[in-house]
């Protein structure tokens, strides 16, 4: 009965949407859990891109996936040593 009322007032989203959202999160979790070398190669690519714009402290950089109840976030802590002049100028 409550379900019906909820539907009438449009508050409840259909269960397929709930399923879809839950599934999306679960898959992100599952897939990131699989390989530590996934993060490693992501880190390398990040260094490659960022280094074009700034000089970074590669040894102290930290890239992780953090998951909370309803989202998964990529958290990167990258100490910057110096900005590159070309980048500051807004073009290469």
């Amino acid at each position: 009965m409550l379900d019906l009322i909820a539907k009438v007032f449009g508050r409840d989203s259909a269960s397929a949407n709930i399923a879809k959202e839950r599934l999306r999160l679960v898959l992100v979790h599952d897939r990131t859990n699989v390989s530590p070398h996934f993060l490693e190669s992501l880190k390398e690519d990040l260094i490659g891109v960022i280094s074009r714009y700034m000089e970074i402290d590669e040894a102290n950089m930290d890239v992780t996936l953090q998951s909370t109840e309803n989202q998964v976030a990529l958290v990167a802590n990258i100490p910057v040593r110096r900005m590159k002049r070309a980048a500051v100028g807004g073009g290469r």
């Binding site: 989203s13 259909a14 269960s15 397929a16 949407n17 399923a19 879809k20 839950r22 599934l23 999306r24 679960v26 898959l27 599952d30 897939r31 699989v34």
Partner: protein
């Protein structure tokens, strides 16, 4: 050389055995020489679904261990002359077979048959590894449920991670209830495809005929009024390279109309 196709899912109870039986029968109805291979050692079921349980004398393990020749162990179907079954051993265990042995067996079968269809056990352990070892293509059977999609994702990952280059995984969404989809209470196939990033091979509606046909030991593709049977026939034709549009179900044309644009199978 024939094709070796494994029917797998990760999760149990989604309809692997039903799919194997119906697809194999439909392929044979199209005139192909087909052998069904039950890789679920210790929990065999394909024989019962095909109605051949009382004809088994030798099984897959007997062939692998050399107790019987392949020809002796192949059981001819009741109705179709070009359809055969190689049963799983019931009193043995998955670890009694090694992936290399399965690879050799499927290779041997592929020399004589157009299609070798393997019914994979649930799970991702020894039985799964054996079943996928010799396969060039994988059909992933999945129900529109969170748990099933999640397991399908895991299995697709394992399939893709094999060192040999093999065909892409193809998805069959089984037990779809059009009314629930229309109501918004069933995962939409578009969403599943997007999340799993695989090609759609077919959609099979929930159908009471499946239960009746399993009771009788005759696959649903024999029953012209069975929607699931019709869906399996379409899937078989797609497997042979024919372009067949995804079936529209009467219950809700508008929802099903969407599936028409879904990927063709030319890659396969």
């Amino acid at each position: 050389m024939g094709q070796v196709i494994v029917v797998t899912s990760g999760k149990g109870g989604v309809g692997k055995t039903t799919t194997t039986a119906n697809l194999g029968t439909a392929l044979a109805q199209l005139g192909n020489k087909v052998v069904l291979l039950d890789a679920d050692i210790g929990l065999r079921n394909l024989d019962v679904v095909m109605g051949l349980e009382n004809r088994i004398v030798y099984d897959l393990v007997d062939v692998i261990e050399g107790n019987a020749r392949l020809k002796q162990a192949l059981i001819k179907d009741k109705r179709l002359d070009t359809l055969y079954l190689l049963a799983a051993a019931q009193t043995r265990e998955k670890k009694d077979v090694k992936p290399q042995q399965m690879r050799e067996l499927t290779e041997q079968l592929a020399r004589e048959f157009d299609y070798v269809v393997l019914d994979c056990p649930a799970g991702i352990e020894d039985g799964f590894k054996n079943a996928i070892a010799g396969a060039q293509k994988a059909i992933i059977v999945c129900n529109p449920e969170v748990s099933s999609v999640r397991d399908a994702d895991r299995v697709i990952g394992l399939w893709d991670a094999q060192p040999e280059s093999k065909g892409p995984a193809m998805l069959i969404v089984n037990r779809v209830r059009p009314k629930m989809v229309a109501r918004g209470d069933m995962l939409e196939i578009d969403d599943m495809l997007e999340m799993l990033a695989v090609d759609l091979l077919g959609i099979v509606p929930e159908d009471e005929h499946i239960i009746v046909s399993t009771n009788r030991g005759e696959p649903a593709v024999y029953h012209t009024e069975s929607k699931a049977g019709k869906a399996y026939q379409n899937i078989a034709r797609r497997l042979t390279g024919e372009q067949v549009p995804i079936m529209q179900l009467q219950d809700d044309e508008s929802i099903w109309a969407k599936f028409k644009r879904i990927v063709g199978l030319s890659r396969g």
